[in-house]
């Protein structure tokens, strides 16, 4: 499913920002992360934002049955205003409502629409993915094996290579559309999970989902999140997420599997770091909660940054990070 180019190279000025991501033709590499752009409708009424500004949007995680999610408070700002902990708990109305009420409204969406599936069992993932991918509005499916905020499924699938592979293979079996495995950073060896997902048929990888996190009210001595723990996002996690993308790229590059990378991106410079580390496309999430209108600013910054360096196509910089020779890949810590 293609989107016509144009409009000043999709807001990048003279620089070509278009991206080919697992066969999806994106007008630019900027993607709205799952859980931060609703069902593709909510932000359209906000001044300065349009789905048409983005390369793609990823819809909220969808499960077989409706889920009410976790108790409130579900969100807290932390890390000196650089971080956000959330624990929503995959609240969604269930796949039948999503297919009936939300997907039809995205038939003529001016961007690539990626659905997102979550579940408690491998079978649930497969059934939901099949229903979502049955809609012509959906161009690809992201498989959430990394939600830190649900008791069953979610993260459990994402921290074990075999379980991750089972889920990805099951989804792979029900659709010909691109399958994107969304990975958790809450593992020691993200490359091992990435490898398992690729072997199971993932066309692309996305990371990093949030980092498991805790914030405490020092007066009440209780967590500030009602379900105790949550997932950390925002600028605080950018260097951590970048490292995970870098590690993943070492194995994904050889397999020719593209990465949708992100975590704490708030500027064009942040986005370019992820591209250099190996991301073919990048996502923003927390930034959308703060300022949906920031997307066009970010693309403008990215275009200007590349133009300044004499780069005419962003795709030429994917994985262009040059490590210092002496430190090597094992450097640091």
């Amino acid at each position: 499913m293609g989107v016509p180019m144009g409009e000043k190279q999709a807001e990048g000025g003279s620089v070509d920002l278009s991206a080919d991501f697992a066969g999806l033709k994106l007008r630019n590499p900027l993607v709205a992360a799952s859980g931060t752009c609703g069902w593709g409708q909510e932000l359209e009424g906000v001044e300065g934002f349009s789905n048409g500004l983005l390369g793609a949007i990823v819809l909220k995680s969808t499960t077989l049955e409706p889920r009410l999610g976790n108790p409130t408070p579900r969100i807290v700002e932390t890390a000196g205003g650089a971080g956000l902990i959330n624990s929503i708990g995959l609240e969604n109305p269930g796949v039948e409502v999503v297919v009936r009420d939300y997907l039809p409204k995205l038939m003529d969406a001016p961007t690539v629409v990626i659905a997102n599936v979550a579940g408690s069992t491998v079978e649930e993932y497969a059934r939901v993915a099949e229903r979502l991918c049955g809609s012509a509005a959906v161009s690809a499916i992201e498989v959430n094996i990394s939600c830190p905020n649900v008791k069953r499924g979610g993260l459990l699938f994402g921290i074990d290579p075999e379980a991750a592979a089972d889920v990805v293979a099951a989804v792979r079996g029900v659709t010909d559309k691109p399958v994107i495995a969304k990975l958790t950073p809450n593992v020691t060896d993200v490359a091992a999970i990435a490898r398992a997902c690729m072997e199971a048929g993932a066309d692309a990888l996305s990371l990093a989902n949030t980092f498991r996190a805790l914030a405490i009210d020092v007066r009440t001595r209780r967590p500030l999140i009602a379900s105790n723990y949550g997932g950390l996002s925002g600028p605080a996690i950018k260097p951590l997420a970048l490292m995970k993308v870098h590690e993943t790229y070492q194995v994904a590059r050889r397999a020719g599997v593209p990465i949708l990378g992100g975590g704490g991106i708030v500027s064009g410079s942040d986005a370019l770091e992820f591209v250099l580390a190996g991301a073919t496309a990048f996502f923003v999430g927390t930034l959308l909660l703060r300022e949906a209108a920031a997307c066009s600013r970010l693309l403008g910054e990215l275009g200007a940054l590349l133009a300044e360096q004499g780069v005419s196509r962003i795709r030429d910089l994917v994985g262009a990070l040059q490590l210092h020779a002496e430190a090597g890949e094992e450097g640091g810590a």
Binding site: E42, G45, T72, R74, G81, L84, I88, T286, E291
Partner: protein, 324 residues
């Protein structure tokens, strides 16, 4: 391919802070030039304020002890902060609304930062957001019940109700008389007959009285107002006189809302409540600010307070839910 401004229903407007006024010990009124939001806002709606990143390098903890962050660096705030539209009006005699007032109580880092801003500072304000209050039928008497800065979501409603000619009562309570969310001064008229045990000399809100609103103030710790809970004031009122058609509007702490909803149910009066919850985006994408409601079929569901609220019918709210 930018979003056309004409299609936007929610404005993200650069807004100039025009003035800042302290109205009580911990509450400020801030006036912003924000013409598109001012023109569109309805009573009970709110805005989401993006504070400038240039901060003061410290945060004052609720204990009152300031601490310096790493190297005194400016401290950004990641999320916007939601505030009710307290007033919307034309400044300098302008006939069309171009200014909004926010009523801000100091509670944490965000509100403190906001109240320390100097007039002339420009912020980005997203709004108007949320559903707002439904107005009562002609001839109905409106009873507005506020706990603390809950008054912020009712102030605009009080004006609108008076403009439409409704008999309007404002019951406003706080912990202490000094932290009432309004400016108070010596009451000249006789105290209301529905309260027997008032101190000899009382304070009131001249501003509200000049609008024709009947004002009844309460402070848990007493002072020159009724000493007790604002919901007790409401109860006394409902017991002593009961206009034929009463509509209740309430915003404040959960325990107060539970009591007001009980009184409304007992008196079979329609009651709308404006609920608060920690909020993320303000536009319905993050699902942070949900509240439990009973759906038409009797099952429990959620409403996102930023889009399907913050105003809910008291009758649909699950008052048994745990609120943090």
């Amino acid at each position: 391919m930018s979003a056309s401004p004409s299609s936007a229903r929610i404005f993200d407007e650069p807004a100039l802070l025009l003035s800042r006024k302290q109205v009580s010990a911990d509450t400020f009124e801030l006036a912003f030039h924000s013409p598109r939001i001012a023109a569109a806002a309805r009573a009970g709606q709110f805005v989401n304020v993006l504070l400038p990143s240039q901060g003061f390098g410290y945060e004052v903890h609720e204990s009152g002890v300031p601490w310096v962050t790493a190297l005194g660096a400016p401290r950004p705030l990641l999320l916007r902060r939601p505030f009710s539209v307290y007033r919307a009006y034309g400044s300098n005699g302008s006939p069309s609304p171009d200014t909004i007032d926010l009523l801000v109580k100091l509670v944490g880092a965000g509100t403190r930062r906001l109240c320390e801003l100097e007039p002339g500072t420009e912020l980005k304000i997203l709004g108007p957001l949320g559903n707002g209050f439904r107005l009562p039928p002609a001839g109905a008497t409106a009873l507005l019940v506020a706990g603390g800065c809950g008054w912020a979501s009712l102030g605009m409603l009080a004006r609108e109700l008076r403009r439409l000619g409704h008999a309007t009562y404002a019951f406003i309570g706080a912990q202490t008389a000094e932290t009432l969310p309004i400016e108070t001064s010596e009451a000249t008229a006789a105290p209301h007959s529905f309260v027997e045990d008032l101190p000899e000399s009382c304070v009131t809100s001249q501003e509200l009285e000049s609008l024709g609103v009947v004002v009844a103030l309460a402070a848990e710790e007493g002072g020159r107002v009724y000493g007790g809970l604002v919901s007790d004031l409401l109860e006394k009122f409902l017991r002593s006189r009961r206009p034929s058609s009463v509509h209740l509007y309430a915003c404040g702490p959960w325990a107060m809302l539970v009591r007001v909803a009980e009184l409304a149910r007992g008196g079979q009066a329609p009651c709308q409540v404006s609920l608060e919850e920690r909020m993320g985006c303000g536009v319905g994408v993050c699902n942070s600010c949900v509240a439990e409601v009973f759906l038409a079929d009797g099952s429990v569901g959620h409403k996102r307070l930023c889009v399907e609220g913050p105003v809910l019918d008291a009758a649909e709210v699950n008052w048994e839910q745990e609120r943090g």
